[in-house]
Symmetry: C2
């Protein structure tokens, strides 16, 4: 059945029952002019939104609708994670071309519902509208975090160490494969495509880092390592020195880069959509951080550099040479014409 | 200058300074992964979102960008008003075709900023992305209302009177004029076009009604009187009887309908985008309501019918005849392929 046949009324009736996921403080979910939420005393509210546009952020035949639904929620949860928060409620706006199969939008919604269920947030409604040709998805999420634990981009100071929760560049490699810019060796494509199409928001890790009180600033990597580190530097009025050989690159990416003939480090620095967390912490917390991650059975974070007086980001290469990096100069590598600002 | 030349980074830098409107409880606006908000004790949070798509909800050459910006915010504020709340913070997602003039998006933003300033809400950031061809605007708003005062769709009971804050159908007439479906008599077009392009969200009136404790349910008219009254009936598990001759129709609409040859009442019932408030109240509050509106120098609300046992909506015509109305049957009159559900 086409979306135009079931209509918005019919569609909403068909998914209403999927949305009612019990979540902290939600008094009224779907079905009124607004969703209604009761804040938890002692916690700040976090508010974020992200838009995904067909043919800009995704190609409809290169991502299963189920993954697209998960991803549209995940990128918002990653923003909540970056502040050290937990998600509570999402509102979903969809602009749907009339010719879309209802089954496909149900798959999209099933992906959204599953990831919301996993992270205990309610789908509190939204807006379903027609679109002439492209599918557009906008998700807004409210989360919260303990007052004393909210982690901003602006808290870094000179001497702080820069940490990364995991390897970068794999998602960008997935995009190169999806757009047929490169051809992966037999059996290697799926890993990168999965990383790109179904990113995991690091909500638990973000909360653990925030609760420890060890970090001075945090951001999630959506625009690319350099660009997002640039936001930390800008908001903290500082600079940064990166150690090239410390940037975590997966063995898979090293292999792929060798076979396809691109620079893995460059992709790791500029690729975008990694959804790893980058945080900074004063040097004296070095051992505390290792202990914290061990306690929670997490892979220790990668220490990739230091915050300095600034301005700008420099990088020390393995041969000892030092180069200035322009965070914004790397945007032409980034197919995602987007910038997240709240 | 084209949007593609300034880019998202340049654009956001250019409007950052416009967003910082002081608002109750906003700790961090634009510039981090999330906006941060502190809830006011004793108040519930309200959360709503609306999407406007070029060529579905607006035609780019029939609405000034300034009005489009105002309207994108206004339709959300109307949802906050419908719960009896006050708005606090908005996040704005824009998908912008590369060929758009920066000046035009600045006008859009100027409209958003002006209406936000008027209603004391902050623009807390958002997401700015590229679009291949159509402009898409999604706005999400958080507001709040006193715990005991939140007005749901579900509170109506048989015997309650149905009230409307003002005339309906003018916006739909404006749309008919904009799409050249009808030609207005000399000098009459502007009134209807303004009503359609620059709707006024009834935030103060919504708060006054909610604070009075007199109303049992409330909704804003976005889908059309019948459709939205239908939501009240559905959520309240009730029916309604409308009195045809009590439906408020502006003298302008009566004139236009006569000259252009359409049924003013039908448009008033089904038109959509009126953004008036419809509320219900037990009969014993009849005099209290008149007194309340007089106290606040407001035009008294129009008493248009009664809530009954239901189901369904019936209408009593001037000649005493009674007809069954199908709320959903009227959707084919509604060019706006949308339904708001939270």
């Amino acid at each position: 059945m086409k979306f135009s046949e079931i209509g918005e009324f019919g569609f909403i009736d068909s998914i209403k029952g999927w949305c009612d996921i019990p979540a902290k403080g939600v008094i009224k979910g779907i079905g009124d002019d607004c969703a209604v939420l009761r804040a938890t005393p002692g916690r700040e509210l976090l508010f974020t939104t992200d838009m995904l546009v067909q043919d800009i952020h995704f190609m409809i035949d290169r991502i299963p609708f189920y993954h697209l639904g998960r991803k549209a929620i995940a990128v918002n949860l990653s923003d909540i994670a970056a502040m050290g928060g937990r998600p509570l409620i999402a509102l979903i706006s969809l602009a749907i071309p009339a010719e879309t199969e209802v089954e496909e939008i149900h798959e999209l919604y099933r992906g959204m519902r599953d990831i919301c269920e996993h992270y205990n947030l309610t789908i509190g409604g939204g807006d379903t509208v027609a679109s002439l040709d492209k599918l557009v998805i906008n998700v807004s999420v409210i989360g919260d975090a303990k007052k004393s634990e909210v982690l901003y981009r602006s808290g870094s100071g000179p001497g702080d160490r820069i940490y990364l929760t995991g390897p970068v560049g794999d998602s960008a490699a997935g995009l190169k494969i999806l757009t047929a810019e490169i051809a992966p060796p037999e059996g290697m494509g799926d890993y990168f495509i999965k990383t790109h199409n179904d990113p995991v928001p690091l909500v638990e890790i973000g909360e653990i880092i925030a609760a420890s009180g060890i970090a001075s600033a945090m951001i999630d990597l959506s625009d690319g390592l350099l660009s997002d580190l640039g936001h930390i530097c800008e908001e903290s009025k500082a600079g940064a020195l990166l150690l090239a050989e410390k940037i975590p690159i997966s063995p898979e990416l090293t292999l792929l880069a060798g076979s396809a003939g691109f620079d893995a480090l460059e992709l790791a620095l500029s690729g975008g959509e990694d959804y790893q967390l980058l945080f900074t912490a004063p040097m004296e917390h070095e051992q505390g951080i290792d202990k914290l991650f061990k306690e929670h059975d997490l892979h220790p974070p990668y220490h990739i550099g230091e915050i300095g007086q600034g301005p700008g980001i420099r990088m020390k290469r393995a041969d000892g040479s030092l180069g200035e990096l322009q965070a914004r100069g790397f945007n032409h590598f980034n197919r995602n014409q987007r910038r997240d600002y709240g």
